[in-house]
């Protein structure tokens, strides 16, 4: 890509999420001047098909490859506060990596604690071992065949249970190998991007 466009994408479904997103963007603006796009109910056509704001939000998130207007996208959950310079992730994409993501603080016995029992067990069965748990609340991605394939798989996997997206992300990653660079926790729950993990599914 000659001059890739870089931008940050939020998904904010419901009033509470919108308030969080506004605060997040305010924090973002202190250190970064990247373009921002927010997807709300107005920007999607799935409201009829999905019942809750949480489902709409997850559906949009797992389809971000098709929705994002940028060549290099940083997706951040609305309940994050990007307090630092987020450009290192974009540099990673420019360096040839497909995606940059951050591992979860919940590993070992806490892994997938918030995922339903059946989905959790079947995800573990797919792997056959304890995978490294990733956190999908902050992720950088670029446009190419591998990433497109990954998102297609992620959405398809999410549609099976239509609950949280993390186990689906793990399954998609396993099924759709891509070049992902692992950033440290400061990018998701630390000094660069704080993550409050607030509940936003109520309006």
């Amino acid at each position: 890509m000659l001059d890739p466009s870089c931008g940050i994408v939020y998904i904010a479904i419901g009033e509470k999420a919108k308030q969080f997103a506004e605060r997040s963007i305010e924090a973002l603006r202190r250190c970064n001047d990247f373009e921002v796009t927010i997807f709300t109910e107005k920007h999607c056509d799935v409201q009829d098909a999905f019942q809750t704001s949480k489902e709409i939000s997850r559906s949009l998130k797992t389809r971000l490859y098709n929705l994002s207007p940028y060549d290099y996208t940083l997706y951040v959950d609305a309940d994050t506060f990007p307090d630092g310079d987020v450009s290192p992730g974009f540099e990673t994409l420019a360096g040839g990596w497909d995606m940059a993501i951050i591992y979860s603080s919940s590993q070992g016995p806490e892994m997938m604690w918030h995922i339903g029992k059946t989905e959790r067990e079947l995800t573990a069965e797919l792997y056959g071992f304890r995978p490294l748990q990733l956190q999908g609340g902050v992720m950088y991605f670029k446009r190419n065949e591998r990433v497109e394939n990954f998102f297609t798989t992620w959405h398809r996997e999410w549609l099976i249970w239509k609950e949280e997206d993390q186990a689906a992300l793990l399954r998609a990653l396993y099924k759709s190998p891509l070049k992902y660079w692992m950033l440290g926790r400061p990018f998701n729950g630390g000094a660069v991007i704080r993550h409050t993990f607030a509940r936003m599914d109520g309006d």
Partner: protein, 557 residues
């Protein structure tokens, strides 16, 4: 007519590459979009970067690409250039024929000057100011000769000129001209100046010449040397302000006597029709060599197919092996435990050991002298030293021990990942924590290379890889990076990986658990008896292949 499909970043956009691709689509009646078309006879990537970066695994059709310019100082773009040059069946270029010919069939394409520029302007009366014009956009990497223009901007009075620009980012008066209005920009100039250091053509001097406007162009840049040596085409040494100063003087002295019709004639061959014809003559022939099809049809199908449970039928076992290295008594003692544990849980998988002492129970024994006290030279030779028929290779440090069946490691590779590795232990899982009293310089180098200290740190004690070009290049780079400091290999791995992205699967410490830290919940699949294979205590300052380093381990040799 062939069924050729053009892939361009932004079809129809007001950008030079979109326009050039558009001419091909229109005149040759080819299809065009931002992605390859699997059913086409030929997919033409415009330019090559789109193949290297966005669709590196696309195949199943004849592949062609347009090669603009080789950005030799940009490691990533240079890598993409070489990747694409080796990957496609046919290369089209305006300026790099001899450079690309070594990769295979390469076609010279004459650049397309848009018809709007051809023809002398009627009223050639110029203003009293001596106007020198520049166009395009400036780049951070300075390849447009930005520093030279910055100098020249401060010397306008000295040279008796006034600089004007079309486009963006110039350090003097400039504005954006719509494409349809670019002829009016050239028409106001006494001279068009190109200061670029690296170019694929460049187009603006050709457009200016088509208007009968004299030009000053750099030598050995793009196809500028192909322009005839006539008055009105003055040259200077690229990047040199002194040489440019002389060219400006000559231009001022000769300007009035320039034959402007001769300038137009000098570019009369560079038409849109000829451009389209140069591509069509090759692609409309039926000679199709499907190099790409041979290597990637399978991957293309896999990418879009429904997920199929992996090939866990055991066939991979015939293509797998384990590689380890042990020098010195402690390491040899450790590796015996490793070998027996591997045999117990992974029967039938061959083992290769490199050591200076024969050890029983291995399938491939390489006896040789050691090169450094940490045996890293041999460890990092894992790609080239292991039998080529081993498609899936697991490397294990001598002081590790297999605790369970670890077939899953090989299966991950079978499933399409190129390599796998575990995170480092405890607090060392972040690169920021890797600094020690003996590695400050290398640590800073590593941070500078990867640009951010808050990244995942890998533990190189256990890793596995599949044979791919990407992995081969990664190992070469890892060796080179390690040799810079000859210390630990983790910093070198980070630097090498950052430069050679691969499909790397990351694992928890279950697969590389240290007995110096609590065992991960669920138990260890591989236990790392950290430090047990070492022959020295404390830190090694400097290289591990130095006399001082050997002195530290002399009692164990």
């Amino acid at each position: 007519m062939s069924d050729t499909h053009i892939i361009v970043h932004k079809p129809g956009a007001d950008q030079v590459l979109s326009r050039k691709a558009g001419y091909l689509a229109k005149l040759n009646k080819w299809t065009i979009s931002d992605r390859p078309r699997p059913g086409a006879e030929t997919n033409l990537f415009f330019p090559y970067i789109l193949l290297s970066e966005r669709f590196p695994e696309f195949g199943g059709t004849q592949l062609a690409a347009y090669f603009t310019h080789d950005d030799v100082d940009n490691e990533i773009k240079n890598h993409w250039w070489r990747f694409a040059a080796g990957r496609v069946d046919i290369r089209f270029t305006t300026s790099y024929v001899s450079e690309l010919a070594g990769y295979g069939e390469t076609i010279h394409a004459r650049p397309p000057v848009d018809p709007q520029f051809f023809g002398l302007m009627v009223n050639f009366v110029k203003s009293d100011d001596y106007i020198v014009g520049v166009s395009g956009m400036s780049y951070k990497d300075g390849r447009k000769g930005e520093s030279l223009l910055e100098k020249l901007a401060g010397l306008q009075e000295k040279h008796g000129i006034r600089l004007v620009g079309a486009g963006r980012g110039w350090p003097f008066t400039h504005r954006w001209y719509p494409w349809d209005d670019m002829a009016s920009f050239y028409d106001q100039l006494h001279i068009y100046l190109c200061t670029s250091l690296i170019e694929g053509v460049p187009m603006p001097p050709l457009e200016a010449l088509a208007r009968g406007i004299p030009v000053i162009v750099p030598r050995n840049v793009g196809m500028m040397d192909e322009l005839p040596n006539i008055s009105g085409i003055w040259r200077f040494k690229a990047g040199s302000s002194i040489s440019l100063g002389y060219a400006l003087k000559r231009a001022r002295a000769e300007w009035k006597g320039v034959d402007r019709d001769a300038l137009v004639d000098s570019v009369s061959d560079y038409t849109v029709t000829n451009w389209a014809s140069d591509f069509a003559q090759r692609l409309n022939t039926s000679t199709v060599r499907l190099k790409s099809q041979l290597v990637t049809l399978a991957s293309e199908e896999t990418a879009h197919a429904e997920f199929v449970p992996p090939m866990h039928d055991g066939k991979w076992r015939k293509k797998a092996g384990m590689y380890c290295v042990a020098f010195g008594k402690p390491a040899v003692t450790c590796v015996k435990t490793l070998i027996s544990s591997f045999r117990k849980f992974m029967p039938g998988i061959p083992i290769m050991l490199v050591s200076n002492k024969k050890v029983a129970g291995v399938d491939h024994m390489v006896i040789c002298d050691e090169k450094d006290i940490g045996a890293r030279v041999h460890k990092l030779s894992a790609y080239e030293i292991t039998p080529p028929e081993w498609e899936y290779v697991l490397y294990m440090d001598a002081d590790t021990e297999v605790m369970e069946d670890i077939s899953s490691l090989y299966k991950i590779l079978v499933d399409g990942w190129e390599a796998l590795i575990c995170k480092d232990m405890a607090k060392y899982h972040t690169a920021r924590m890797m600094i020690r009293p003996d590695n400050k310089e290398e640590f800073e180098h590593t941070m500078e290379t990867i640009g951010c200290a808050d990244v995942f740190q890998y533990n190189g004690g256990i890793f596995a890889f599949r044979r791919t070009n990407g992995v081969r290049d990664l190992f070469k780079c890892w060796q080179k990076e390690w040799d810079m400091y000859a210390g630990r290999d983790q910093g070198a791995l980070l630097r090498a990986l950052y430069r050679h992205p691969i499909k790397l699967f990351l694992l928890t410490n279950h697969w590389n658990a240290s007995d110096r830290y609590p065992t991960p919940v669920g138990g260890a699949m591989i236990m790392h008896h950290s430090m047990k294979a070492r022959r020295w205590g404390g830190l090694i300052y400097g290289r591990t292949d130095s006399e001082e380093a050997w002195e530290k381990v002399k009692d164990f040799r």
